[in-house]
Symmetry: C2
Subunit: 253 residues, 2 copies
C-alpha cells in the first residue's frame, strides 16, 4: 500500500511510524513548511513535499492529519485527479468536509492521545472508521487492521460523541491532575505522592464501570469531610466552585 | 510486633493483609458488629472482638481504620490503660482527635484508593506519618517501612491537603470517567473504547507534570471544536456548565 501523509505533527508522526512498522510505504509527507515535512519524512523514509502540486497522483491513500480547522481547506485544494482514498483522522470533523465529485473518502479516527515525547502502541488504539460508501469502508478496514488491533464503524455524530467523551476522560482529567499538583505544591508536597493513586484510579476502570467504583466523601454523603475540604480551599473560590459542582453531580448520580 | 486492628472495612482489610504479609501478628480485630470483625479476623488469623473491654491491653499498636467521623469517638472510648501506640489512618482527620493524657499516638495515612474487589501492592503506597512526639514518629516509621516502600513526615494540615488533592485526582477523575461512559452509552458506544485513552492519560503524568502534557481544544484555544462539543451537549445544561468551567480553567492556566 502506497500512502501519502498530509501533515507533520503529532498525529501524522504516530500514524506514519505505525504504517511503516506495519509494512506500508509512506512515499511522501506534505507540509506547508518544508522543514516540518522533511523532519517527519526523514524518520519514515518518505519524500518531503511543500506544494500540493508535487503530490504523487497515484497513491492508494492520502491520509490527512492536520489541525481540525485546516482539514476542509486542505481537502478542497487537493488535485481533483487523485485516484486513491482521501481520509482524515479527526474526531470532531464530519466526513462531508472531504466530499468532492468522483472522490472516494473516509475517516480513520484513533481514540487515543498522542504526544511526541512518548511512543504509543498503535495495536492497542481503537480506530473509528467511516467511509463515503461500503466499498471505501471495506478498504479502510483492510488497511486499519494491519496496524490497529481494534477497528469499528462509527458515523460522524458518534465520532463527535467519542471526541467529547475523550475531552472529559483525558483532557479534563489531566486538568484535575494539574489541580492536585498545584494543591500539593502550595503545601510543600510533591506531585509524586499521588502518582500511584492516579494509576490505580485509571486501572480500576479498565475492568469496572466508573459508577461501580466511585469512592470519596461525595458518594458517601460525608458532609463533615466535604466541609473540611472546602475550608482548605477557602482562599480559592474557583476551586471551591469546581469542588461543589462535581460533588453535587456525584451525589445526584 | 503485636497489632490490634480497630475496624473491619476496606482500609482495615488492606492494612491487615499487608501487616500480616510483612510478618507482623494481628492479634485482634475489633468491630461493633461481631460478624464483620469475624470475617476479617478469619482472613488474617486474628481473634474477632465486638467489645472494647475485651481488647488486649498489651499490644504494640492499636490501628484505627474506621469511618472518619467515628475515629474521635472510638479513640475516646479506648481503655486508658493501653501501653501501645494509638494510630489512625485517615487523611482528613487531625492528629489531635487521638489525644489523651499519657497516650502515645499518631497517624499513618496511605495515599491510595482501596476497594475490596482489587488487591493493592502496599509496597507502592506512600504512607504519610505523624506522631505525638519524636519517639512515636520514629516508632511509626520503623513499622511503616516493613510494609510500605515510601514513608514521609506530614502534619495534619498537609495531610488534609493531600486528601483534597486525592479527591480531585481520584474521586473527581472517576466521575469524569463516568461522564464519558454515559456520553458513549447515549450514542450506542461502549466505554471500552476510551479505556486505552484513560490509561495513557494516567501513565503520561507518571513521568511528566500534568501542565506539561495538557492537550485538547481548550489549551489550543480551538473555539470551533469547543462549539461543536457544546452543541452536542445542548440538551444537558449541567454537562455544558462543567465543560465550560473546566475549559475556562485550562485556558487561564
Amino acid at each position: 500500500m502506497n500512502i501519502i501523509l498530509l501533515g507533520s505533527g503529532n498525529v501524522a508522526t504516530h500514524f506514519g511510524e505505525a504504517l511503516v512498522k506495519a509494512g506500508h510505504r509512506v512515499t511522501q509527507v506534505y507540509s506547508r513548511t518544508y522543514a516540518h515535512a522533511s523532519r517527519l519524512a526523514g524518520r519514515i523514509g518518505a519524500e518531503p513535499v511543500a506544494e500540493l502540486a508535487a503530490l504523487d497522483r497515484k497513491a492508494d491513500l492520502y491520509l490527512i492529519a492536520v489541525s481540525d480547522d485546516a482539514i476542509g481547506r486542505l481537502a478542497a485544494q487537493l488535485p481533483s485527479s487523485l485516484q486513491g482514498l482521501v481520509v482524515h483522522t479527526a474526531g470532531s470533523v464530519g466526513l462531508d468536509v472531504l466530499a468532492q465529485p468522483q472522490r472516494r473518502y473516509g475517516v480513520m479516527y484513533p481514540v487515543q492521545t498522542f504526544s511526541l515525547a512518548k511512543a504509543v502502541d498503535f495495536s492497542k488504539v481503537p480506530l473509528a472508521l467511516e467511509g463515503s460508501d461500503e466499498q471505501v469502508y471495506t478498504q479502510l478496514e483492510q488497511i486499519a487492521v494491519t496496524f490497529s488491533g481494534r477497528t469499528f464503524a462509527c458515523d460522524s455524530k458518534q465520532r463527535l460523541a467519542i471526541h467529547v467523551a475523550a475531552v472529559f476522560v483525558c483532557n479534563f482529567t489531566n486538568h484535575l491532575y494539574a489541580v492536585g499538583a498545584d494543591l500539593l505544591d502550595r503545601h510543600g508536597l510533591a506531585f509524586d505522592l499521588v502518582r500511584p493513586l492516579i494509576l490505580e484510579t485509571a486501572q480500576k476502570v479498565l475492568t469496572y464501570q466508573p459508577r461501580e467504583v466511585q469512592t470519596g466523601p461525595a458518594v458517601r454523603n460525608d458532609s463533615g469531610t466535604m466541609e473540611k475540604h472546602l475550608a482548605l480551599l477557602a482562599d480559592r473560590p474557583e476551586l471551591m466552585s469546581l469542588y461543589q459542582l462535581i460533588s453535587a453531580r456525584i451525589q445526584s448520580n
